[in-house]
């Protein structure tokens, strides 16, 4: 199992008000699975993704990533795991504005414990794999939205992570660019990577192997517990 989540809870405190965001989420994802997560805003999707990405700790429950439990891991261990095992793709791309595409792709290499100097070569290969070799020295401002997202994907791939976490990756793209991104994701699945992707677009969700629907901090069951919801066009977002 790539991902094993059991009874995750998370709340946020603002002043005296406490908001429960996740109220006991459980699911599993196997290696090479493509899982979509849907839900209204405020349902806890991003919080779940942050916990899966080791960017946040749950208040309760268990999370095992690739067989390892990180609940008591320190900051250094979490950072190393993010660097090696997880690649992130964001809706806003989050590229460094004043750095070239190549330098952006190389960003995760800064925080690698591997001291080899083959970084630039690997970055070029990653860019090639998303079809952007010819744009290596352009700044993000000189690239289209689709191209920027592809640079972000190349960045996510540079350390060959087993898990890709994507938060609305096509949210800021037109239909054509969005389709190109999904094609890349399908290719990554074929290579054996696991992808968990947040989306509000049922079309995107339909590309996944299965869809989890979150509502008010819980997974909405519509089949035996833990299996999530299988593809059903038009049903995303409703209980």
């Amino acid at each position: 199992m790539m991902i094993e989540v059991e009874g995750l809870t998370k709340s946020y405190r603002k002043g005296s008000a406490v908001t429960e965001v996740l109220k006991g989420v459980s699911f599993q994802a196997a290696r090479g699975e493509f899982v979509a997560v849907m839900g209204r805003s405020g349902s806890g999707k991003s919080t779940l993704l942050n916990i899966l990405g080791l960017l946040d700790r749950p208040d309760g429950g268990r999370y095992r990533l690739d067989g390892a439990d990180f609940s008591t891991a320190d900051d250094d261990a979490l950072s190393a795991a993010r660097n090696r095992k997880i690649g992130f793709v964001f809706q806003q791309f989050h590229l460094l504005e004043r750095a070239s595409a190549l330098r952006n792709v190389m960003l995760p290499l800064l925080y690698c414990d591997d001291e080899s100097d083959a970084g630039a070569t690997r970055a070029e290969q990653a860019l090639a794999s998303v079809g952007l070799s010819h744009r290596a020295h352009h700044l993000p401002g000189e690239l289209s939205g689709g191209e920027q997202q592809r640079v972000a994907i190349a960045r996510a791939l540079i350390n060959s992570p087993a898990l890709i976490l994507a938060d609305e990756p096509t949210g800021n793209l037109d239909a054509q660019a969005g389709k190109e991104i999904l094609d890349i994701f399908r290719r990554l699945i074929a290579e054996g990577r696991t992808i968990v992707l947040i989306t509000h677009d049922t079309g995107v969700a339909s590309c996944a192997d299965r869809t989890l629907v979150l509502d008010a901090g819980c997974i909405v069951p519509s089949s035996p517990a833990g299996a999530g919801v299988s593809r059903a066009p038009g049903s995303g977002g409703r209980a």
């Binding site: 805003s41 999707k45 991003s46 919080t47 942050n50 990405g53 960017l55 946040d56 900051d75 250094d76 950072s79 190393a80 993010r82 660097n83 090696r84 992130f88 964001f90 809706q91 806003q92 989050h94 460094l96 004043r98 750095a99 330098r103 960003l107 995760p108 290499l109 800064l110 925080y111 690698c112 414990d113 001291e115 100097d117 960045r155 350390n159 938060d167 609305e168 949210g171 947040i198 509000h200």
Partner: protein
């Protein structure tokens, strides 16, 4: 490359890429450093100038004269008073703190010097080798009297400029043998032209021999006319003079209430106040400079704090990519340090230029040494680290989930 090296390279690239932001941050420190550097350059120049003045006007010299106050004002008469001895000079050298150099001095008028068919009647001085330095004088030709000359009671003589011209109108005095009294003396050197001093003494109309020679061979007496003393701290001149006076009163067994049989004269007309004023001014400008530097540091800190807020997304992104919080802290601390150092280089250049400009305009003195550069860059590094700690810590403590969540739909 190690992790640290990679992060450092990334910081350099980032600072270069955000030129305007980097430059603005550097400016704050640059101003403080400019003031500091200018203050140091001018301060050192002023100090140098004062020391030069002190040397030029003999303001660092104490003179002990045989005979009490009354005799001081009869410069034309030989004072032939048997009160000051060489042992007094040695005692002063050994026992008075703040005394750098001492020389015993004997003198006698109407001494005739003869060379071939020419003669000159002049005033003869017997001195010790330190005398030249104490009097801040120089030789024009040849060399001055040495310890060896003293030990040997050598018959060597230094000629004043006027005497040299009288006996050797074509020059070439050094090495010749002249006669003083009935004895042959070798001319060891000629002194530079010095003119007539305020008391009416003609410096160029004299000859100088080793004290050992004058006391035992020429004048045949151990008693001194003067002891001249160079003090090491001009500011403590009066205290040193008082100490010398007390020492000599004891040595000469002068009872309390009795008058001194000698007279200690220093540069009483030295404006100690002016020395103090310039050191006060220097301290003041240093204080201003330090305040300016601190202000620059505060500016860096505030700009960096603002930057940390603005760059929250970048920080969250880096954390998502695998940066530890210590990596983030290191990144921002290094940025702060580099910005401060950059500002320091800018500031030193500007400050030194301003100081030199002021010196050229005759408004101030200046002296360039390595000191302003070292102080400026050192304090910049310190400021950069100190004022970068808070923003760097804040950046490191930023929760990545918080910053990245802001982008969620």
């Amino acid at each position: 490359m190690t992790r640290s090296q990679r992060i450092a390279t990334d910081v350099f690239a980032s600072l270069r890429a955000h030129t305007q932001r980097t430059f603005l941050m550097m400016l704050g420190v640059a101003v403080g450093v400019a003031v500091l550097s200018a203050a140091i350059v001018i301060g050192q120049g002023t100090e140098r100038r004062i020391m030069d003045l002190v040397a030029k006007h003999g303001l660092d010299m104490l003179m002990v004269r045989a005979g009490g106050e009354v005799q001081v004002f009869a410069p034309q008469a030989d004072r032939g008073l048997a009160v000051l001895v060489e042992a007094d000079a040695r005692a002063i050298e050994a026992e008075i703190p703040g005394v750098r150099l001492v020389s015993a001095v004997q003198n006698q008028r109407d001494v005739t010097v003869v060379y071939e068919d020419r003669s000159a009647t002049t005033r003869a001085f017997g001195v010790e080798p330190n005398w030249m330095d104490i009097r801040h004088r120089d030789t024009a030709e040849g060399a001055f009297l040495s310890e060896r000359d003293m030990d040997a009671m050598a018959r060597v003589v230094m000629l004043g400029a006027k005497v040299a011209r009288a006996l050797f109108p074509e020059g070439g005095a050094v090495g010749r043998t002249v006669r003083i009294g009935n004895d042959p003396f070798t001319v060891k050197g000629v002194m530079i032209e010095m003119g007539v001093n305020a008391g009416g003494d003609d410096w160029d109309d004299r000859i100088v021999v080793p004290f050992a020679t004058s006391s035992r061979r020429m004048f045949n007496r151990p008693y001194l006319e003067q002891i001249v003393i160079q003090v090491s701290d001009v500011g403590a001149m009066l205290e040193t003079a008082e100490r010398v006076r007390n020492l000599l009163r004891v040595r000469h067994a002068i009872a309390p209430g009795e008058q001194d049989d000698f007279f200690v004269r220093g540069a009483e007309d030295l404006e100690n106040a002016s020395l103090e004023t310039s050191s006060t001014l220097f301290a003041l400008s240093m204080a201003v400079a330090i305040i300016a530097l601190l202000a620059g540091g505060l500016m860096i800190m505030n700009l960096m704090l603002a930057a940390v807020s603005q760059r929250a997304h970048e920080i969250g992104l880096r954390r998502a990519m695998g940066a530890r919080s210590s990596d983030i802290q290191r990144q921002f601390l290094l940025e702060s340090l580099l910005v401060a150092l950059g500002g320091g280089v800018l500031g030193v250049t500007a400050g030194v230029a301003v100081a030199l400009g002021l010196a050229a305009a005759g408004v101030a003195s200046s002296q360039i040494t390595w000191v302003p550069f070292a102080v400026a860059l050192g304090s910049c590094a310190l400021i950069g680290l100190l004022f970068g700690l808070h923003p760097a810590g804040k950046a490191a403590r930023l929760e990545p989930a918080t910053t990245l969540r802001q982008t969620a739909a």
